[in-house]
């Protein structure tokens, strides 16, 4: 069976006054039915652009190359209309900010039933019943009353549940969740992540979970792609990644997370410096200037994506623990 999504050498650049800004550089990723992929990186690493490119949500200034295959069909040359026909039933998306993603002047009920009527051709009554069932499924208390409410009347967690209900309403093959819990409290974050995992299994949906927090992806994904400056720098099954980390960048990212075990008053390990200028194409490894293990070779030559076996890929001349 073909994978739900296959990106091959996907690159995205933006035309800016300072020159071409390379946001995503030749990314190759595969996602099977029901699988969950975590895309992790700092702001500016290209993780959001990657998911938007797949959804056909890039602005006009963007230049995209490479292929996007959806269920074995190449959709990279689809028109805007053709891509739009995939939304809802094929791919759906949840955004970071649930306030701005919902329409502020329409009732929750109308926003939920819209795609059911338009996409699935349900009549109003059936759509309403399905919508109430969905609200129950995402654990919204008193779904009948919720149908009549406006987004401003809801908390961030409630709004994100509504977004999730809308996204899964037409049983999509795959779901993009772009930082779905970054704007939420830890307690609500835990609930929302749990809910997403349940729904994924229930609907056998593939999911791409985009986040800057390795803690969020650890328990909720099958594999992880770590992005840095537009490149996928490490790509491995989740357990393999955490138990046998190869990239110094991934290691640094993991170390910088504050933990409950951290003794009070200790200095947290930091990644000094910042991302290279995305409009310049400098030789060498883009992480070289911030890497604790840097050598002359790293500054001179960019490492290729290396196959380390066990489906573990990394982009480093001197991987942690040596090459396999």
């Amino acid at each position: 069976m073909s994978p739900v999504l296959k990106l091959t050498d996907l690159s995205v650049s933006f035309n800016t006054p300072r020159g071409m800004l390379k946001a995503v550089r030749s990314v190759t990723i595969e996602l099977n039915a029901g699988e969950s992929l975590g895309v992790v990186g700092e702001s500016g690493s290209g993780k959001t652009v990657l998911s938007r490119a797949t959804m056909g949500l890039l602005p006009r200034t963007a230049v995209r190359t490479g292929t996007i295959e959806y269920l074995g069909t190449d959709i990279s040359n689809y028109s805007a209309k053709e891509v739009r026909d995939l939304w809802g039933t094929g791919m759906a998306m949840i955004f970071q900010d649930p306030m701005t993603a919902l329409n502020p002047v329409r009732r929750i009920g109308d926003q939920l039933t819209e795609s059911l009527v338009v996409r699935l051709g349900m009549d109003k009554k059936a759509a309403r019943e399905k919508a109430i069932a969905l609200l129950k499924r995402v654990r919204i208390p008193d779904p009948d009353a919720m149908m009549r409410k406006f987004p401003y009347q809801l908390s961030g967690g409630m709004r994100q549940r509504i977004m999730i209900a809308i996204a899964v309403s037409c049983n999509p093959e795959m779901l993009f969740a772009d930082e779905p819990t970054t704007a939420l409290d830890v307690t609500v974050q835990a609930q929302v992540l749990e809910l997403l995992s349940e729904l994924r299994k229930e609907f056998n949906m593939a999911m791409i979970l985009v986040t800057h927090d390795l803690g969020v992806v650890a328990g909720h994904t099958d594999k992880i792609a770590v992005m840095y400056a537009g490149d996928v720098v490490e790509y491995a099954p989740t357990r393999q990644l955490f138990s046998n980390m190869k990239m110094p960048y991934t290691e640094a990212l993991l170390k910088s997370i504050p933990r409950l075990e951290t003794p009070t008053g200790t200095r947290l390990p930091v990644i000094e410096g910042r991302l290279p200028d995305p409009t310049k194409d400098e030789p060498g490894c883009p992480f070289a200037n911030r890497c604790p293990y840097v050598t002359d070779k790293c500054r001179a030559e960019k490492p290729p994506l290396t196959d380390g076996g066990n489906n573990h890929f990394y982009r480093c001349w001197y991987p942690i623990g040596g090459a396999q």
């Binding site: 700092e42 702001s43 654990r139 208390p141 908390s155 961030g156 967690g157 409630m158 409290d185 830890v186 307690t187 609500v188 974050q189 835990a190 609930q191 992540l193 749990e194 800057h212 927090d213 390795l214 803690g215 969020v216 650890a218 328990g219 989740t238 357990r239 955490f242 640094a252 990212l253 993991l254 910088s256 997370i257 504050p258 933990r259 409950l260 951290t262 009070t264 008053g265 200790t266 200095r267 947290l268 390990p269 930091v270 990644i271 910042r274």
Partner: protein, 330 residues
């Protein structure tokens, strides 16, 4: 979840701030009143970092602002450097402001986009007549260097040219300009990437040691709090649940709400998924809080007593206070 107790105050210490029975109410129309903070007391000893932790809507930011009289609290007392702030006149209060500063959550919108960084920092110095232009320039360079920014590069740029982390460094430099005694940091790192978070937390620690600051650190992230604070106060719906040192709070958790918060912190380890201590739902509306203990509607241990009686803060071990009828392990 009561917090209407003062057993945890420390009258013998060198206290910078003493807050007693602080209540903040907002009139939301139709005769409805939201009690954002109800009867909270705490004190702050010089050099301490007090973390105030809780979910959105628990009143932690309102509490921080009420300490600065922004706006004035509905009732209660705020005693800062042995002066009562709540009864002060406008001018008197203004004279106190340099000693108490604030750092906000969103680093980009808290800086004026039209002003170059040098002006952002010069403004408070000029308003308070802290020297002539040469002295002010020297002070600006000192502040920027202290915040790990290169004055030569940064001075003439405007806030939109910087990343979130750099803007937060500038905000910290600005808060330090008038040599404050106390800084209230309202979620200073929640808008930042994990990698940048660590840099800013380290910077705050350095500044605290270097300038002898006393900090209030408001956050919803217990892991962040653990690294920086000397005392932690957990709040729920405008009341105090538990207060103590970070080690006591995390390793000897007494309150069921604190336990749920600790259990919700994502752990970067695939073999340790969340522990299932998840509390369900969200806090009820502060306009109509539950009777008795405010946490009882989400608490796994709630009994009839919790609905009837509001628990008072009491000491469970040295310096560790909890407001619960059925604390964990008792």
């Amino acid at each position: 979840m009561a917090g209407t107790g003062k057993a945890h105050l420390r009258p013998e210490g060198d206290r910078v701030l003493v807050v007693e029975d602080l209540t903040v109410e907002f009139n939301v129309g139709k005769g409805n009143v939201v009690k954002a903070v109800s009867g909270v007391s705490f004190d702050l000893v010089r050099g301490e970092t007090l973390a105030i932790v809780g979910e959105s809507g628990c009143g932690k930011s309102t509490l921080g602002k009420a300490v600065l009289q922004l706006p004035k609290p509905t009732s209660g007392s705020v005693n800062f450097l042995s002066k009562e702030l709540t009864t002060m006149g406008k001018q008197e209060l203004r004279d106190m402001r340099p000693a108490m500063q604030m750092i906000f959550q969103d680093p980009i919108s808290s800086l004026d986009p039209r002003l170059p960084v040098s002006e952002v920092l010069a403004e408070p110095l000029r308003v308070w007549n802290r020297g002539n232009q040469v002295e002010i320039d020297a002070k600006i360079d000192e502040l920027l260097t202290a915040a790990n920014l290169d004055p030569a590069v940064v001075r003439d740029r405007r806030s939109y040219e910087f990343s979130g982390g750099q803007c937060q460094r500038i905000s910290i430099a600005r808060a330090l300009a008038l040599d404050p005694t106390m800084i209230i940091c309202d979620e200073p790192v929640s808008a930042l990437d994990v990698s940048v978070q660590a840099q800013i937390l380290n910077l705050l620690q350095d500044m605290k040691d270097r300038y002898g600051l006393t900090l209030i650190f408001i956050s919803h992230d217990l892991a962040v709090v653990k690294a920086v604070s000397t005392r932690v106060m957990v709040m729920y719906l405008g009341k105090v649940c538990e207060i103590g040192t970070p080690d006591e709070i995390y390793q000897n958790t007494k309150h069921h709400y604190t336990k749920a918060l600790v259990g919700s912190v994502p752990i970067p380890d695939p073999d340790r998924p969340l522990t299932g201590n998840l509390i369900q739902g969200e806090p009820p509306s502060p306009a109509n809080p539950p009777s008795g203990c405010r946490f009882r509607t989400r608490c796994p241990m709630a009994t009839e007593q919790c609905a009837q009686e509001e628990p008072q803060l009491r000491e469970v071990s040295l310096g560790h206070f909890v407001a619960c009828h059925h604390p964990i392990g008792e």
